[in-house]
């Protein structure tokens, strides 16, 4: 089973890297970019086939390590 965990900064948290990317896009002349926030994507392969178990394991992984929940939100998707 394949899964994807997406980690993004909570709204209101300053994201200097996103700001720098936003500036670079504007200087490249890419039209219509209002703002950029940078995040992380983890593509994870799971050994079992139980979706509920997989989801629980991924949530545990995100809470314990993949995200710092002080500043980040995460989203789990199973494929």
């Amino acid at each position: 089973m394949k899964a994807r965990v997406t980690v993004t900064l909570k709204s209101g948290i300053l994201d200097p890297q996103g700001k720098a990317i936003e500036g670079a896009l504007k200087s490249l002349g890419v039209d219509g970019v209002a703002s950029v926030r940078q995040g992380k994507v983890f593509d994870i392969e799971l050994s079992g086939s139980d979706r509920a178990k997989a989801e629980a394991a991924l949530k545990e992984a995100a809470d314990k390590l993949l995200a710092n929940t002080v500043i980040e939100n995460y989203r789990v998707e199973l494929f």
């Binding site: 300053l14 710092n68 002080v70 500043i71």
Partner: protein, 233 residues
Amino acid sequence: MKSAVLVFPGINRERDMARALKLISGKESAMVWHADTALPKGTDLVVVPGGFSYGDYLRCGAIAARSPIMDAVRDFAAKGGLLLGVCNGFQILCEAGLLPGVLMRNARLKFVCRDVHLRVERSDSPFTRGYNAGQVIRVPVAHGEGNYEADEETLKRLEGEGRVLYRYCSRDGVVDEPSNFNGAAHSIAGIVNERGNVLGMMPHPENHVEDIMGCTDGRGLFAGLVAHLERAA
């Protein structure tokens, strides 16, 4: 003072720290490997030094914070043991949940490596008793992610409980915008936990302890710890 310095892969300030501790306490530090599960018996002070543990992968300090030795460190702190995290060590203690908040990328995106001035906010802590309240000290920083952030409520608690021990300031002790080079909330350079036995700070006091370094302002922190432990003994 019996000190232990933790060693993680990618850490690079552990010898500076051990040298400073030896110089000021007169005793060798134990170097404790991250995969160990116990601290040496009778340890009075545990130091998490600076560097780039695990190459700053995932988030600064995130992987080191989940190392086997950290369970023993957590127990040690829970029993009131003195725990000091410097630079990457501060990031590790935040990631381990031993201190609140998080160290974000410097607001101006620059890795800053130079001397800065700190105002010592109070002198009645084991980590500051070698200084006077309001004293200004000069110590080096070397980090790209030292911008301390926490939610409003946490910041209010830190301030209300007097848990900000060190703040970035100008040469004459004024806490202002230009001296807050990394954009930290409330110009925070170092904070303690609720109980006051765990300090995290971004600057490197261990690098200003000998005349050859051009400044010895960092000595007070270690001398204060030695004095505190001698009095407690």
